[in-house]
Subunit: 248 residues, 2 copies
Amino acid sequence: MGTDNVVHIEQSDGSCDECSHQQVCLTRGWVPDEIKKLEPNVRRGKPLPRGELLYRQGERLRALYILRSGALKSFLSTADGLEQVVRFHLPGAILGLDGLGDDHYASSAQAIVASSVCRLPSELINSSIEKFPVLRMRILRLAGREAALGHERAILLTQRAAEERLASFLIEMSEQYGQRGFSPREFNLPMSRQDISSYLSLAVETVSRMFTGFQNAGLIEVDRRSVRLLDMGELRAMAHGGRLAAAN
Amino acid sequence: MGTDNVVHIEQSDGSCDECSHQQVCLTRGWVPDEIKKLEPNVRRGKPLPRGELLYRQGERLRALYILRSGALKSFLSTADGLEQVVRFHLPGAILGLDGLGDDHYASSAQAIVASSVCRLPSELINSSIEKFPVLRMRILRLAGREAALGHERAILLTQRAAEERLASFLIEMSEQYGQRGFSPREFNLPMSRQDISSYLSLAVETVSRMFTGFQNAGLIEVDRRSVRLLDMGELRAMAHGGRLAAAN
DNA sequence: CGGGCACTTGAAGATAATCAATGCCGGTGG
DNA sequence: CCACCGGCATTGATTATCTTCAAGTGCCCG
């Protein structure tokens, strides 16, 4: 087993022991014993090519997924054809929790780059939760966090200006990459400007302008999807409420 | 809209058998046997005077609560003193789920009118969940719904115009009252304009204007906090103008 | 009866959306 | 290898919606 009590539910290849994402995975904190017992429950997942949907909003809940590699977005579709990205997922993320409410996925999940996922089939969710106390706590925690996140996001989207939202997004991505052992100062965004703007509830044009503005202000260096954060302090300040002094 | 299913675990007076909110309570659907077993676990809650905080954002999770009577609001406070109402709770609602994420309440809950609550102490949450399959499913569902609701709310707050948001709010309240056996066409709003505007992320003035506008348009009759819905069809159309897609 | 607070109403101003066009890159085929 | 195509991204100009500022009304409670 890993160096500590870290676990994995099911993976697309290999056992949890070998998973490179133990640090961030759902199973972090599990006792090895439980891991062993759970592992046989899971089935092999298949790789997701870019653009593929993992599940669709409204579909019956088939499974919870853990993202092993790649990146996905979760989004909602409205009757009038609008599409709103509600979340980006990087490796280690768990997907499908919002489907626990009524056994139907509340959002759609789509790979924005080629990805692979591990899978906990829905028929095993309840029994697994019963049998594995740590998983029980974990799922409850994640669900609770999911709810709390929604609240924070509501504030971000409604109380913060466009600049602050983008700063917030950049810091969020930075932290995500940092937690995963990548550079928090320089990374490649897997998603399009369209996706970012949807996520931040802004027009694409606005996002584009903000990127340019940040660059002119010396906060970042950006070239297409690659970003380098030059002034994390200032970005962080903006993300938490400050505004950018009209520069350029 | 998410509170149609609620549970009841402990009440401030009497046993669950006598509770007038069984219809909407968390325990709906429970096998009587389980209720009986759970009931001894709960402790008496005390009445909440208007304005009293049930719990504060950041406090350690003490318990989950079920609202027995009255009305509460959940809100987040930001570093810069802003306050954002994220939810209104009517009898039968369960509160505190967003604290499951990290054992600290993610929001504050305050009585907007005199209320009383039932209580499931946190030290019992895990064991109760273990022992009572139905409670397990129920809590998971609620947490999942909580997450899903956050998504819908994000769309409402970012994609919908002020009018649509208020229409949505009125319909939401109407449905809440309807489910609880009150008239869905005529009711008293327990919360201030300030609260409503915060909930909808609008300026108080805007909310006020919309109320007036709706009245002039013959959609509603409003006098201070009492509201009568005259044209539910139109209101619904406005609110649902951005309803979620049916999703196959 | 007076004071305070919640609410309403009006006018001006700002932020981001929309409309419109161009630029850039990567891929494809001649 | 180069020219062209299509999607994504950027930039500019104008506009709409809602906020903000400011003032006024009326209700409730002492």
